[in-house]
């Protein structure tokens, strides 16, 4: 394994705007009267509801159990009673089922998991079961159940565990703060995950614009055979495939998973959650989220309970001083725009971001001038401009020929496009159409 990271092709360098919140220590968000926990927080099957309206619940009590292997259980963020089980605005704009927990103000823990302090001598299978029981998902954005990633099929021969601390999205600093403030937890989490995978080492990849995080981690990393790998600043450095390439030089084949090149990638926040679940016995009921953006009065990083409405999070940050143009969950490059303040913090909500009017340039359908900037910027080496024109003319078959399925939707192409074409949306659309065609065929 080389010490020098490889540079992947393409990428862009947006103004990272992290200074707004990078130096703000993580604060615990105060207890609210009510939390609205969205049922389906993970990729895969939705969990099965275990409570009904009026039930008394304790903090950390199971609200829903995993609805299959690719599914995780859901726990109560605080103690109180179950309120309405109804629909609330979901992160994708469609109303989704959610459980409201009315807090009793006691914030009293139910029965915790048995803490496993001697994890070094615990069977990996037991540790993995704990990860699953604690309801941990990929907290970087996708929300893929962590235990599934930690269960590679026989014969994959996993040899590298990578912790993704790149946090290449502009504005977001939640992972950054976690690494600075809880370096030991991060490293321990990494070591536990490594043990689950049967490895004795791990690599943490961090973009060079976070020197304090690198320094803090390096102080504690050696003890657990964890290597801290500084990476050049280049969006999308934190995309799984690019990260693996930068650190190991292996290319994940199109349509394949990291495990096919013997790698497992986990998010920093997930690693901390694993540490807390194993060593402290705490299920995944809170997460660190950055609330930031130019219109925000006091940007910062908070530890929110899952189910905190965005309006409350914004209030905590002092509200706004100007009407923003967009409200996003996640970062500005891949985040999802919201039209409601009723959406709640989920396990994969890494940031709540307000974008000011002067930062937004609207998408237009101006013609492509074939400048090729998108081709240069594309980290997957496909031809965004041509694909977009094909999609514009509903030529999804052609888009498929042009390898649109390899697109990772990082948005680099749309970022650089001087014509402000909605390239990324074209690709998402094409992927949906191609997949539905495949489904029809089967």
């Amino acid at each position: 394994m080389s010490e020098k990271p490889r540079k992947f092709k393409g990428g862009v360098h947006p103004n990272d705007s992290k200074a707004l919140s990078a130096s703000k220590a993580i604060q615990d968000a105060p207890l609210l009267d009510a939390y609205t926990v969205i049922m389906h927080q993970n990729i895969g099957a939705p969990p099965e509801l275990l409570v009904k309206k009026g039930d008394a619940v304790k903090k950390g009590q199971l609200l829903a159990k995993a609805g299959g292997f690719v599914s995780v259980p859901l726990h109560s963020p605080t103690s109180g009673t179950v309120g309405a089980i109804d629909k609330c605005p979901g992160p994708t704009g469609i109303a989704v089922p959610a459980i409201t927990i009315n807090s009793d103000g006691e914030d009293e823990w139910g029965s915790l998991f048995e803490p496993i302090s001697d994890w070094k001598n615990t069977a990996p299978a037991d540790l993995k079961q704990r990860v699953w029981d604690a309801g941990i998902v990929g907290m970087g954005g996708a929300g893929f159940p962590s235990h599934v990633k930690l269960s590679p099929p026989e014969g994959k021969g996993i040899d590298t565990l990578i912790l993704n601390g790149a946090e290449c999205e502009p504005y977001l600093t939640a992972d950054h703060r976690l690494m600075v403030e809880q370096p030991k937890d991060v490293v321990l989490g990494a070591a536990i995950i490594a043990r689950i995978l049967g490895l004795d080492s791990a690599v943490i990849g961090i973009e060079e614009n976070k020197p304090d995080a690198i320094a803090e981690l390096q102080k504690v990393a050696g003890e657990y055979n964890v290597r801290v790998q500084p990476l050049p600043v280049n969006y999308p450095q934190g995309a799984e495939k690019q990260l693996i390439y930068a650190i190991t030089g292996r290319e994940v084949p199109v349509g394949k998973l990291p495990m096919d090149v013997k790698c497992v990638v986990q998010n920093i926040a997930s690693a901390v959650a694993v540490f807390e679940a194993v060593v402290k016995g705490i299920p995944s009921i809170e997460r660190v989220t950055t609330v930031t953006g130019k219109p925000i009065v006091h940007p910062g990083n908070w530890r929110f309970r899952i189910g905190t409405p965005i309006s409350k999070a914004l209030e905590l940050a002092g509200g706004i001083n100007e009407q923003p143009a967009k409200l996003l969950l996640g970062g500005p490059m891949m985040g999802i725009a919201q039209s409601s303040l009723g959406v709640t913090v989920m396990k994969n909500t890494s940031g709540i971001l307000l974008i000011a009017r002067d930062e937004v340039s609207l998408y237009t359908s101006e013609p492509c001038i074939r400048c090729g900037r998108c081709v240069d910027a594309c980290p997957m080496d496909i031809l965004p401009a041509t694909i977009s024109q094909a999609v514009e003319n509903k030529r999804f078959d052609w888009a498929e020929e042009l390898n649109v399925m390899a697109c990772i939707e990082c948005g680099s192409c749309s970022y650089v496009c001087p014509s402000h074409r909605p390239l990324n949306q074209h690709f998402k659309w094409a992927k949906v159409e191609i997949q539905s065609k495949l489904r029809r065929r089967n």
Binding site: P367, Q389, A390, E392, N393
Partner: protein
Amino acid sequence: MVSEFLFITIGAILVNNFVLSKFLGICPFLGVSKKLDTALGMSGAVIFVMTLASLVSHLVNHFVLVPNGLEFLQTLVFIVVIASLVQLVEIMLQKLSTKLYESLGIFLPLITTNCAVLGCVVINSKAAPESIQSTWYGATIYGFCSAVGFALALILFSSLRERLDLAQVPKAFEGTAISLITAGILAMAFMGFSGLV
């Protein structure tokens, strides 16, 4: 000798391109240039027919028509030869590649009336007796190169048209109109080669 071959080659492919300079074979040029794949298939078919037609016509012309003073039958006989060759290609193609056969559609039998083929054969038969074109191999090479020139124009044009498919051409100019304008500009560009040979 070598230079003469070079002249025939460059002349037939670039300078006196059948489509863009002699304006022969415009019908398939416009008809089967909507897609690159079909254009490639058509190019193959035309190269096959034109090369063989040149050879067979030369033989027929040289050994049957001219000795018997039957030059006035040239057009008739040439067309019979071409038609049979096209028939051959059609039968074979239907068996070998049904997809290509269907996408070429009516334009395949229409190679018969592709004036580029007849033009090529007639030009061969009119070649000066001392020129290389009046030998059987010269005629064949000329036929082959002319067909390659036709193929070149067709492939270029079809790839351009695939791009035009994505363009927002004004309603009145959609389809054949804009294709003809494109062909015109292409022909203009090919004029740059004039004088090379």
